[in-house]
């Protein structure tokens, strides 16, 4: 357990600046997930913490020690790679024992540690196999075992689940979570998958173009996004983000108008980006009496329904409002006709408003 401080971290590739001063402070035992689209600098940040990339500017400290310029093995870290990077010529046992052998640990101690970790990860029967003879999930577990045996202060995960199929990914996600509860190490975990980020993290750091867009708990990130980007990035299907004009009676979207109380802090005539999650747009027919009474809900507006996607427990309702394609939700058993107009109700209590220029939240 160590705290990690990343201060004003900068990475230059020649003249190209890949990271523009990243600040992250991770508490001991915290599970921190870096998430963002590809090329946002999340992997670069992780690799600079690992010591695989040189630091162009700023500081990384692990525990109380600044680790800039230290070799990876001196940093007290262990890492799990996207492609596992298991040494194909070594057995599972030797893959896990390799780092201990390099640090000249006595053999009996290595044996004890490897066996103990293998037991935790249910790898004991596989210890004599080569990686080529293992399934994807087993390889993944060996890769984690290799990191755990070293008893590092910090675990680094670089998209560890992206090579697994959907079902296994779910299982391994839970396994990593359990492992973290048990070992209580500090973890930095890089992924592009927002579900992984939401389910695993104590703290999510959303990155974009080498900058931090927002950081906070999963709840804060999901329910209180700072920017248009964060609002659109987290959640599936994504939040509806539409340009609109504030009117005295509500909002104007192209030629249709949502009637509702004027949102706080907005004046009529202002252009804003309104964000509202599909969960908060429902057919008026779904509304219960007290929901209709709630002033935050808009008066239903009738819109053409373009497409219904059946997901099982719920249905996605694609409709047009003004020039915008929007998505709402309804129950899986509700029957709605495609192509026909239908009244939809917007829960404006959960709408977010952003400045169209700065793309920052208007609070």
């Amino acid at each position: 357990m160590s705290r990690i401080e990343i201060r004003n971290l900068v990475k230059m590739y020649g003249a190209h600046q890949a990271l523009h001063g990243i600040d992250i402070s991770i508490q001991p035992g915290e599970f921190c997930v870096l998430v963002g689209p590809s090329g946002c600098g999340k992997s670069t940040t992780l690799r600079m913490v690992a010591g695989l990339e040189t630091i162009s500017g700023g500081e990384v400290s692990i525990g109380d020690r600044v680790v800039n310029g230290l070799r990876p093995k001196e940093r007290g870290i262990a890492m799990v790679f996207q492609n596992y990077a298991l040494y194909p010529s070594k057995t599972v046992y030797n893959n896990m024992a390799f780092s201990l052998q390099l640090s000249r640990m006595p053999k009996p101690e290595i044996e004890r540690r490897v066996r103990e970790v293998a037991e935790i990860l249910e790898l004991t029967p596989l210890l004599d196999r080569k990686p080529g003879a293992l399934s994807g999930g087993q390889r993944q577990r060996v890769a984690m075992g290799r990191a755990i045996v070293r008893d590092p202060k910090v675990f680094l995960f670089d998209e560890p689940l992206s090579n697994l199929d959907a079902k296994l990914r779910g299982q391994m996600r839970a396994e990593i979570k359990r492992l973290h509860q048990r070992l209580e190490n500090t973890i930095i975990y890089v992924t592009h998958d927002q579900v992984e980020a939401m389910t695993l993290a104590d703290r999510i750091v959303i990155m974009r173009d080498g900058r931090i867009e927002q950081q906070g708990t999963p709840d804060e990130i999901f329910h209180d996004p700072d920017t248009v980007f964060v609002a659109g990035f987290m959640g599936s299907p994504p939040m509806n983000l539409v340009d609109c004009m504030v009117t005295p009676d509500g909002l104007k979207l192209g030629d249709s108008e949502i009637t509702c109380a004027t949102p706080n802090g907005l004046r009529a005539g202002e252009r804003v980006i309104c964000g509202i999650r599909p969960d908060d747009i429902r057919p008026a027919s779904d509304m219960t009496a007290d929901m209709t009474a709630d002033t935050a809900h808009s008066a239903p507006i009738t819109v053409p329904i373009n497409l219904i996607e059946q997901l099982g427990t719920e249905k996605l309702v694609h409709f047009s409002a003004g020039d915008h394609e929007m998505i709402g939700k309804t129950g899986g058993r509700v029957t709605m006709a495609e192509g026909a107009p239908h009244p939809m109700s917007f829960d404006m209590k959960h709408a977010y408003f952003f400045d169209p220029k700065s793309e920052k939240r208007i609070r």
């Binding site: 890492m79 040494y87 194909p88 080529g132 090579n163």
Partner: protein, 289 residues
């Protein structure tokens, strides 16, 4: 009805495919026999007494095997010297160029640095320099270094020719190994050299073997420099040894062909062994998840 029709067609197509395959097999067998024939004929002549070398009609399989040529070659200490020299030169060149070449290939494969493209192009260019152009200055340099008529002179010369191939081939193999291995090993505590020796080389073993065999083949078969840079019988290698027999023994075809067979055997065997590695290559599981 429709089913019967489709079935009829598949049977027909199956039959067509089988006929085509049979045609390909026949063509391949005939062509391969023609291409391999000179080699078979060499073996055949080595097993016939000289009087039968040109006897008509020619026969691939002699009535009785005549081992005289082989006996004469194997009991002659001169030929043993040729073979030993070729082995010494071949093994030394292979070992040296493999070590030096692998180090350089690792540098090329794993690092971007100032001048890397130029350096790589330089290595490729060295493969193109005409050996005949180098012959005269090498003669001068080797004489100057006091290495004329020594195996060291040959080893040094062949190293120049073999090294670019070792570098290019090993670079190719190392490039197929994901860099994740290097990073995992670095985090496990390896130095760069440790990454190469402890992690990459075991994975690149098939590549090392084929590079080694190719280098050995190059050194074993080299003729021009072996001819020009040595003089005494004690320093001659197999190819030069064979070529000298032509003058020395006139037309003792059984003996010449016997020595040709014996002299080709090491590369032939090595080559047959390495085929497996080239085919198996790196596609075996484990390298890529």
């Amino acid at each position: 009805m429709a089913d019967v029709a489709t079935q009829g067609r598949t049977i027909n197509e199956d039959r067509q495919r089988r006929w085509r395959q049979a045609g390909i097999y026949i063509a391949l067998t005939v062509v391969t026999f023609i291409m391999v024939f000179p080699i078979l004929w060499m073996i055949s002549v080595s097993l016939k007494p000289t009087t039968e070398t040109f006897s008509l009609p020619p026969r691939l399989l002699p009535d009785s095997f005549h081992w005289g040529g082989y006996a004469k070659v194997l009991t002659d200490p001169k030929f043993r010297t040729f073979l030993i020299n070729s082995y010494v030169v071949g093994l030394a060149v292979t070992a040296l160029s493999l070590v030096i070449g692998t180090l350089a290939a690792f540098g090329f494969s794993r690092y971007r640095f100032f001048g890397d493209r130029v350096a790589k192009l330089f290595v490729i260019t060295t493969q193109m320099v005409p050996t005949i152009t180098l012959l005269i200055p090498y003669f001068g340099v080797i004489v100057f270094l006091g290495l004329y008529d020594t195996l060291w002179g040959l080893i040094l010369t062949y190293l120049t020719f073999a090294l670019p191939y070792s570098i290019v081939m090993m670079n190719g193999y190392l490039d197929t190994i994901p860099k994740d291995f290097d990073e995992a090993a670095t985090i496990d505590g390896c130095t760069p050299l440790g990454v190469l020796v402890r992690v990459l080389l075991p994975v690149a073993l098939p590549g090392i073997i084929s590079t080694a065999v190719y280098t050995f083949l190059l050194a074993w078969n080299e003729f021009l420099f072996a001819l020009a840079l040595t003089r005494s019988m004690d320093m001659r290698t197999v190819p030069v040894g064979i070529s000298m027999m032509v003058g020395e023994f006139g037309l003792k075809w059984d003996k010449m062909m016997a020595f040709s067979v014996i002299g080709s055997l090491p590369v032939l065997i090595l080559f047959m062994l390495v085929q497996r590695f080239v085919v198996g290559g790196l596609s075996a599981g484990g390298v890529k998840g």
